[in-house]
């Protein structure tokens, strides 16, 4: 039981990180990024290329992959997303779906469709902590999630960029009038969102496998977590991820692994029925006709 909850928490961290990226992008730019998982997948493959082709050490590859993730996010924003800034939500959503499909296809052409295994960050056997066993790699996941979530929280709350992000998310026109360089803010947002997704991908790969479809499940669970968080609350995204992770793990242990997804979405439908704005968000006031 404790063991299941702990491993659920580990998965939950990954979902939470991916959800953080989604929520961050949605909060600031008002766009739900369906390509989030595929961008993360590319980042993971880039890390893998550094690791296996250039024979670099794990942490250097990790770092280079994160740099790549940031540039990739910025490129996607400038080349594609920026052009539909004023389009309807549906067009934006379908654009990200198109990016999702295109990246999936290109990655398949470059890296092939056969799954590979991805090394763990920290080797070593499981450590016993009371009734539970935990491997160094799983501790690494917990640690990275904690660090990233708190860094992001500080960035969002206490820095000028964070303030600009919050201002842009509230009212774009007013933010522009106040002299905020909205393009720059959005660029930072996309870079950070892409980094968060990429790290989620790098953390997922050792547990599952490395393949072009590796991020499907993570992305879906991240969506679930983001919805629980109401798509607006950053700490909520992490907590949502943890809840989804533990819940899904309990279902797959006590019922069937395939039913985890179904039950998660039943949970979400119930939550949304009771609180349409998500657990962690305040009700949205209807402002204009």
């Amino acid at each position: 039981m404790e063991q299941i909850i702990v491993s659920g928490l580990i998965f939950g961290c990954v979902y939470g990180l991916a959800a953080l990226g989604l929520v961050l992008i949605f909060r600031t730019t008002g766009l739900v990024n369906f390509a989030h998982g595929e961008m993360a997948m590319v980042t993971t493959f880039v890390a893998f290329t550094f690791l296996s082709y250039f024979q670099l050490s794990f942490f250097i590859s990790f770092f280079l992959a994160i740099v790549f993730a940031a540039l990739f996010g910025i490129a996607i924003y400038f080349l594609l997303i920026r052009r539909v800034g004023d389009a309807s939500h549906l067009n934006q959503l379908v654009l990200t779906l198109g990016i999702f499909l295109a990246i999936h296809g290109i990655a398949g052409l470059i890296w092939g469709h056969t799954p590979a295994s991805f090394p763990r960050a920290l080797k070593g056997g499981p450590i016993q902590l009371g009734p539970i066993f935990i491997s160094p790699n799983e501790l690494f996941v917990l640690f990275v999630t904690f660090i990233l979530a708190s860094t992001l929280f500080v960035l969002f709350r206490f820095t000028r960029v964070g303030l600009a992000m919050r201002a842009s998310s509230q009212d774009l026109t007013a933010a522009r009038l106040m002299g905020i360089n909205v393009n720059f803010v959005f660029m930072v947002t996309w870079a950070s969102g892409s980094i968060l997704g990429g790290i989620a991908g790098l953390l997922t790969a050792p547990f599952t496998f490395l393949g072009v479809s590796m991020m499907y499940d993570v992305l879906i669970m991240a969506f679930a977590a983001a919805v629980l968080a109401g798509f607006l609350s950053l700490p909520g995204a992490v907590f949502g991820g943890l809840i989804i992770g533990v819940f899904g793990n309990l279902v797959s242990y006590y019922w069937a692994p395939e039913m985890a997804l179904v039950c998660t979405f039943v949970l979400i439908i119930v939550v949304l029925y009771i609180r349409p704005q998500g657990i962690f968000s305040a009700p949205e006031a209807i402002k204009k006709v």
Partner: protein, 334 residues
């Protein structure tokens, strides 16, 4: 104006004649007939989705789930309970629309992205349930089934699909031009304004979901009879993505746009399936290009010529959609 309608009518008649003659044009090749049958099934699903999304503004990323509900309803009723086709096909629609009521219940209260994710969950869950509910669906192995004797050949059943598709198209065209369709447009443009003019927003949204699910379910039922085999891998979440992409690429709030999208999305895999993953790449690039350069969809390309010829902007539904959903506040550039 009169001349234009006449032209459109001629075009529709010519298209219908082409479709009736199609099996003989391709020499009754079962591959090309299958391609056309799949186009018709996707067209039914895309048109229904366009009623929901294009007219009603309700984003559904799980419409593939209703297709699958339709296939399994038909397969279970016909293979296990031995029911005739004129019972199973409407039953497929009924089951899908009853389920849509359950999904729609919270969905009626949700907007935009929340709705997208809730329906995404639905589209993901249906194949998983089909996989796990072994007593009814036989899990991985799927359900084999046979066509009714009267229309057992490919050619005969092709005409069944064609006829159903045409009837569905006609019904949906009428719905979109009726009081119901106008109510959907009003809800899409502003829920508050619609409610203020006396439209029962929650009620109409529920009806919207039910109509869309009903016809999509029928499309799924036709698929089951066409392939004569049903499995949990028939309609994945990718199908739902493709359906959404079809209506955006073809043209939102346009029944014809949905048909154009469905044709395009069956033709691309036909040419691209030579390489693994090429389909996704091509469809993805097509979607990106169309959103960036022709956001009102392929159907709006016709509007350019019409505008040039007449020197004025004639009825352009998709463009109106774009304007209405653009920002209320004018952009201030500094």
């Amino acid at each position: 104006m009169k001349g234009r309608i006449f032209n459109r009518r001629t075009a529709v008649v010519v298209f219908a004649i082409f479709l009736v003659a199609y099996p003989f044009l391709v020499g009754q090749s079962s591959y090309f007939m299958g391609l056309a049958a799949m186009t018709a099934i996707f067209a039914i699903a895309a048109m229904s989705l366009n009623l929901l999304t294009g007219y009603g503004g309700q984003i559904s990323v799980g419409q593939g789930g209703f297709l699958m509900l339709g296939t399994y309803t038909v397969a279970v009723l016909s293979a296990k309970l031995d029911m005739p086709i004129w019972v199973t096909i409407p039953a497929a629609g009924m089951v899908a629309s009853v389920v849509s009521l359950i999904v729609g219940l919270p969905a009626v209260r949700l907007k935009g992205h929340f709705l997208a994710v809730a329906t995404l969950g639905f589209g993901l869950s249906i194949p998983e349930i089909a996989l796990n509910w072994k007593s009814v669906t036989e899990g991985y192995s799927g359900l084999p089934m046979t066509r009714p004797d009267a229309v057992s050949s490919d050619l005969a059943f092709f005409y069944v699909i064609l006829a159903v598709t045409m009837i569905v198209t006609w019904i949906l065209l009428n719905i979109s031009n009726s009081r119901l369709g106008r109510a959907f447009l009003a809800i899409r443009d502003s829920e508050i304004a619609a409610a203020a003019t006396g439209i029962n927003v929650a009620g109409y949204k529920t009806i919207m979901f039910m109509i869309a699910a009903f016809f999509t379910g029928i499309g799924g039922g036709l698929y089951a009879y066409w392939i004569e085999y049903v499995s949990p891998n028939d309609f994945t979440i990718m199908t739902s993505f493709f359906l959404l992409a079809m209506i955006v690429v073809g043209g939102l709030a346009s029944i014809w746009g949905a048909i154009v999208g469905a044709i395009l999305f069956t033709v691309i895999p036909h040419f691209a399936d030579v390489y693994v993953g090429m389909t996704n790449l091509l469809i993805g690039v097509a979607v990106i290009l169309i959103i960036l350069f022709r956001p009102a969809g392929l159907i709006s390309i016709g509007e350019i010529f019409r505008k040039n010829r007449k020197g004025q902007n004639t009825k352009a539904e998709p463009e109106r959609f774009e304007q209405s959903s653009a920002k209320e506040v004018p952009d201030v550039k500094i």
